[in-house]
Amino acid sequence: MKLVVCVSLVPDSTTKIKIADSQTAIDTAGVAFIINPYDEYAVEEAVQLKEKNGGEVIAVSFGTDKSRDAIKKAFQMGADKGILIKSPVPDFDSYTVARNLADVIKELSPDIVFFGKQSIDFDGLVVPNMVAEILNMPSVNVVTRLDINGGIVTAEREIEGGKEIVTASMPVIIGAQKGLNTPRYPNLKSIMASKSKPIEERPQTYTGNKSEVFEMSLPSAKGKGKILEGGAASVPELVKLLREEAKVI
């Protein structure tokens, strides 16, 4: 099986957001970057399929040189090869990302392409289904369970208060949601092995963002809340505040 996983590099989830002087991006000084957490489920699923069926896992990232770190994390988890589509600048929108990934995926012609369902920086939930549409491939996003049976995939997809059972035939694009599997922790051996795995560099094939951030801001600070210190005895006062002041009950 030929399996491709698309991985992106994002600020660690504990990052306290500071706005850069440009007012259009975050200040990345001192920010630690990690592989997008949902992409770990994507890598794990691909590696498990390889372990079961044979084949190879290729990790692809679009971004600046820094994005190599996302590919390296995929290597540590068992991916075999990497492709970095190198963007000279760090600003690109989902459409640019999708177009560049699509070009490489088309050439690789894999059986399954895994994505994380969403990146935790810009919270798009966009790239997987965009790539699918560009390549005219079936895709299912927010997947919590995947079964493959002779070229037909059956995926469980999380929806409001429940799930959908979706079927499609391969080649297919799958967006991984938490719950799909438990991503492995790389061990020393896999970390050592990852060091000799190759990352091939490709030039960006598409530029031309369709959207542009022109302002970034922090949420307006909340006023000091009213914290009652009397335990259960404070309940009547809380209820009164909720009714009369906040008017939410």
């Binding site: 935790i120 929806i159 208060g161 970034m216 209820v239 909720l242």
Partner: protein, 335 residues
């Protein structure tokens, strides 16, 4: 070029719910801001004519209806409910054929699944999960949360074609009344072929009567302070008394006490209900990311230094096992 807006009204079991009314009202208000702009609503389902007319209450003068049965009949297969890929093609073809350049969808699980594909098919820019849309200056700019609500961006577009998804519960449905004309669109005119049914939904299983955190206007969430999965009965009781959905921190989801569909936060759901009650939740940055835009936050925690109190509008320093039963009882008497 003058703008033309198409709002996709989503239905469930052939009934419209809040997202459909919100999107209709938001489209009406955007159309009013953009000079010479008209708007219509499109919907795909087997709704009755009376149900379709309800959209008129929210200002939809023109509702275009594609019969789901008619659309599905183009698939050459049976035994499925609907197809995201076929619906996205139907909406896109309709928009292209009729000159709509701004397409609005709800940021629901359905809307999010089809929006990227609609954007590619209509060669549009896309912005998802918008919380503000502004057309006052004559062009559309939007505001959306990023980093799970830790910050916001304003976005403009280098394209006349735009696809936006609107976060549920943010745009208020406005009842304006007025007549509505319903036009049936023959799926046969939309170039739908069997190959467009690239994915099909065989089954949709929804826990009956259970409100999802992403849709709820009130949420009661529990964290590790609840100590066990059984103790979440306290959370469920309070939630049922005030008609709220139940939510959870990642710590309790990881512990297997609650399903991950309930997780609120940076790697769970981002919510903005009018009331969010956090019980035994410390207020880690990733949790706050998902709920800090709630209108009123109430925290119950026995540690008065818990970070959650810094984000809360109201709080009680106390033991959840003592506070929750009293609070539930007290609220039962008034709601």
């Amino acid at each position: 070029m003058s703008n033309k807006i198409l709002a996709f009204a989503e239905s469930k079991d052939n009934k419209f719910k809040n997202p459909a009314f919100e999107i209709t009202s938001a489209a009406a208000s955007l159309a009013a801001q953009l000079a010479g702009c008209e708007f219509s609503v499109i919907t795909i389902n087997n709704c009755s004519g009376d149900e379709l007319k309800i959209l008129g209450k929210y200002g939809a003068k023109n509702v275009f209806h594609i019969s789901l049965d008619d659309l599905n009949s183009k698939s050459g297969q049976s035994g499925f409910l609907y197809s995201h890929t076929a619906e996205s093609k139907a909406v896109s073809e309709f928009a292209k054929a009729n000159g709509y350049n701004i397409i609005l969808l709800s940021a629901t699980s359905f809307g999010k699944e089809i929006a990227p594909s609609v954007a590619v098919r209509t060669d549009s820019a896309i912005a998802v999960d918008c919380v503000e849309i502004d057309g006052e200056s004559g062009t559309v700019v939007i505001k959306r949360p990023v980093y799970a609500g830790k910050s916001y961006t304003k976005v403009r577009f280098n394209s006349e074609n735009i696809v936006l998804t609107l976060r549920p519960n943010v745009f208020k449905p406005v009842i304006t009344g007025g007549d509505t004309e319903i036009t049936e669109v023959d799926a046969g005119t939309l170039n739908i072929v069997a190959g467009d049914f690239r994915t099909v939904v065989k089954e949709a299983v929804v826990a009956s009567g259970k409100l999802d955190v992403a849709e709820a206007d009130r949420i009661v969430s529990g964290g590790r302070g609840l100590r066990s999965s059984e103790n979440f009965a306290l959370i469920e009781r309070l939630a049922s008394v005030i008609g709220a959905a139940t939510g959870a921190s990642r710590a309790v989801v990881d512990a297997g006490w609650r399903p991950h569909g309930e997780q609120v936060g940076q790697t769970g759901k981002t919510v903005s209900p009018s009331l969010y009650i956090a019980c035994g939740i410390s207020g880690a940055i990733q949790h706050l990311a998902g709920m800090s835009s709630s209108k009123c936050i109430v925290a119950i925690n026995k540690d008065k230094d818990a970070p959650i109190f810094q984000t809360a509008n109201y709080g009680i320093v106390g033991d959840v096992f003592e506070v929750l039963p009293v609070l539930t009882e007290e609220l039962k008497n008034i709601v």
